[in-house]
């Protein structure tokens, strides 16, 4: 097994170990802090990698990437502000757990979930690469379109409020995704004359504005009632047997789901964590617990997003297709070092590939060792009186947004989305499905276009083969379910209480 003959010897050199450590530590730090994410950190460190050995560089950048998925849930749980965009789902049940005094437990479970998710993801990466490559090659436009449509409709059913309003948010997200130059025709859509919108709205800015800023605004007032000190003793972290069992199963399901979605380009940890959450809610015998601190709602998404992140390296390394923007940067880093990722890479650069995979193992072990004791520190960090914390976070969000492109326009967008995000909150619309619609928008349009081209304009041509048909049928079934609930007025989730 090349992993042991080539990989570990490469990964265990002092230099590579050091860079791995730096990467995962920075990644966790950056993941914990709302306002700066892996994308920003990796972009900022990219120039530095020019001067170091390519394997060390990629090991470090990768470490930041999967390390951030460990830290991202910390702020989600403690403050209901996602540290990373993909930890948004963890807010839903993580924050109520904090409100119930179970913050330490939630943090411990998410660390464990992240670890198991990563390990399972790495195993999948290692052993199923040939099979996965074949699978994704079977995916034509009709299959991608069906998968994405299903993902969108499923995303709407996770919204805590009204499914109808959540679908509305998905559509709004799709609309926002229209802004910018259309890849196919070159026509610039909805740019209102701003050159900076040529490439569309930046995802980071959108996420920070919609989630971060609006949450900050709302929390300044509500944080007065926040329970201040919580026991972060080691004992407080250990789950009860029942909780542990439920969490464990959720972790396994989430990891499996994440491992399936990671290799598919265009889907990412955000979507996987959403779907893992939806799955848990759907198969649970007691779905009403969700949104109020169900441990599965925290364990599954975190396992899923880590599994996705690890397996996301599959298409990048094996096909040269980056599945997420951050992967694209890592791809760029590889190319800068003269390495062309693709099917040949495993053969031409086995030391890089296997060294990287070995570093994943090492990195995740470091993370678990780091994070369990550090949970106390992260918690203390985020538990400072809110009035000290939120101005700091505001500043960090501003800097993080500005530093993406040194463009004031990005800050202006942050302002706009902060305003819109808070407005949406007041109107009772959930922002999370909007983000999914936004990310998938351009891609789903592209796949729709191609599928229709192949189907010669015939909509029925979308039902091409078992995969596409199943997914489309499921999507339609969900949509119909929502419509029926609306017509009947049986939206028990939206029913307001009479004063």
């Amino acid at each position: 097994m090349e992993l042991f003959t080539v990989g570990f010897p490469v990964a265990l050199t002092m230099q590579n170990l050091a860079f791995c450590f730096v990467g995962v530590f920075l990644g966790t730090f950056v993941g914990v802090l709302p306002g700066i994410g892996a994308l920003a950190a990796i972009s900022l460190l990219l120039p530095i990698t020019y001067y170091i050995d390519s394997i060390s560089a990629i090991v470090m950048l990768a470490g930041i990437y999967y390390g951030s998925e460990y830290g991202g849930s910390t702020a989600s749980i403690l403050l209901r502000i996602p540290g990373t965009a993909s930890s948004a789902v963890t807010c839903i049940d993580g924050y109520p757990m904090t409100q119930q005094g179970k913050a330490a437990l939630a943090l411990f479970i998410t660390t464990m979930a992240s670890f198991v998710g990563s390990i399972i993801g790495i195993l999948v990466l290692m052993f199923l690469i040939p099979i996965i490559v074949v699978l994704t090659m079977e995916f034509g436009p009709a299959q991608y379109f069906a998968a994405m449509l299903f993902g969108l409709v499923a995303a709407a059913t996770i919204g805590q409020g009204d499914p109808l309003k959540s679908i509305a948010m998905v559509v709004l997200g799709l609309i926002l995704g229209l802004i910018g130059a259309d890849v196919n025709s070159g026509v610039v859509r909805f740019d209102f004359g701003f050159l900076s919108l040529y490439d569309g709205i930046s995802l980071v800015t959108l996420a920070m504005g919609l989630f971060g800023v609006s949450e900050l605004i709302a929390s300044v007032v509500s944080s007065k009632q926040r329970a201040s000190k919580q026991p972060i003793a080691f004992r407080a972290m250990i789950p009860s047997f029942d909780e542990g069992l439920r969490a464990g199963k959720a972790i396994l399901r989430g990891s499996g789901l994440g491992s399936v979605f990671g290799p598919l380009p265009g889907t990412g940890p955000l979507m996987a964590s959403f779907l893992a959450y939806a799955l848990e809610k759907r198969i649970s015998p007691t779905p009403e617990r969700f949104g109020k601190g169900a441990i599965e709602g925290v364990a599954a998404p975190e396992a899923a997003n880590n599994a996705t992140i690890q397996t996301a390296f599959v298409p990048t390394l094996s096909l040269g297709i980056p599945g997420t923007p951050t992967m694209a940067i890592i791809l760029g880093a590889l190319m800068i070092h003269g390495i062309i990722p693709g099917p040949r890479m495993i053969d031409t650069h086995p030391d890089l590939f296997w060294g990287l995979v070995a570093s994943f193992w090492i990195g995740n072990v470091i993370l678990v060792i780091l994070n369990v004791p550090l949970i106390g520190i992260w918690v203390r960090l985020l538990q400072m009186p809110y009035r000290y914390l939120y101005p700091t976070v505001v500043c960090l969000i501003c800097i993080g947004t500005y530093s993406l492109n040194n463009n004031v326009f990005d800050v202006a967008m942050l302002f706009v989305f902060g305003f819109v995000g808070y407005g949406m909150r007041l109107l009772g619309f959930e922002p999370a499905p909007l983000l999914i619609g936004f990310v998938l928008g351009p891609m789903i349009e592209e796949q729709f276009r191609r599928a229709m081209l192949l189907a010669r304009g015939n909509v029925l041509g979308l039902f091409d083969g078992p995969i596409a048909t199943t997914l489309l049928v499921m999507a339609l079934a969900l949509a119909v379910w929502v419509l029926v609930a609306v017509v009947r007025g049986t939206d028990h989730r939206a029913a307001p209480t009479e004063p």
Partner: protein
């Protein structure tokens, strides 16, 4: 005539969505629709526009006969934080990163009634120092630390 019950939130929200959808729809014709087989740049926007109008209308119509009001608006933090961001954006190019961060931080602090002047100043000083250390010294961001605006 009995007073008509309306869920204000949904009415406003649905209406806004429908308006956005109508706008998108109206613009989509200008981008070229094409056919189903060869879509123009306006085809997908058209579909989205129609969907948004439809859903927005349903939400707005559904709000009739339901009760529901707005949750209280947190004016002070909202204005403080948004103004802080705006000021940062407007000044960072002219005065440099550190003064812009300081201004944003101070304005953000105003959002909380309970913070004292000294507390705020100390906090902002710490944040500015931290920012300088981490972003300018550590990460070497290519942003001017301080700049003379004149």
């Amino acid at each position: 005539m009995p007073r008509l019950k309306v869920d204000a939130k949904d009415a406003v929200g649905g209406l806004l969505l429908a308006l956005v959808g109508a706008y998108v729809l109206s613009q989509s014709f200008g981008y070229g629709l094409g056919t189903a087989r060869r879509m123009g740049a306006g085809y997908f926007p058209m579909i989205l526009g129609i969907t948004a109008v439809a859903i927005g209308s349903v939400i707005a119509l559904r709000s009739i006969g339901r009760t529901g009001g707005f949750e209280p608006v947190a004016w002070r933090p909202a204005v403080a934080i948004l103004v802080a961001i705006a000021v940062f954006g407007l000044t960072v190019r002219h005065v440099g990163l550190l003064p812009a961060v300081a201004a944003a931080g101070l304005l953000a602090c105003l959002g909380d009634r309970e913070i004292g002047a000294i507390e705020a100043l100390v906090l902002v000083a710490v944040v500015v120092a931290g920012v300088w250390l981490v972003f300018l010294v550590g990460l070497q961001l290519p942003i001017a630390a301080v700049r003379m605006p004149f």
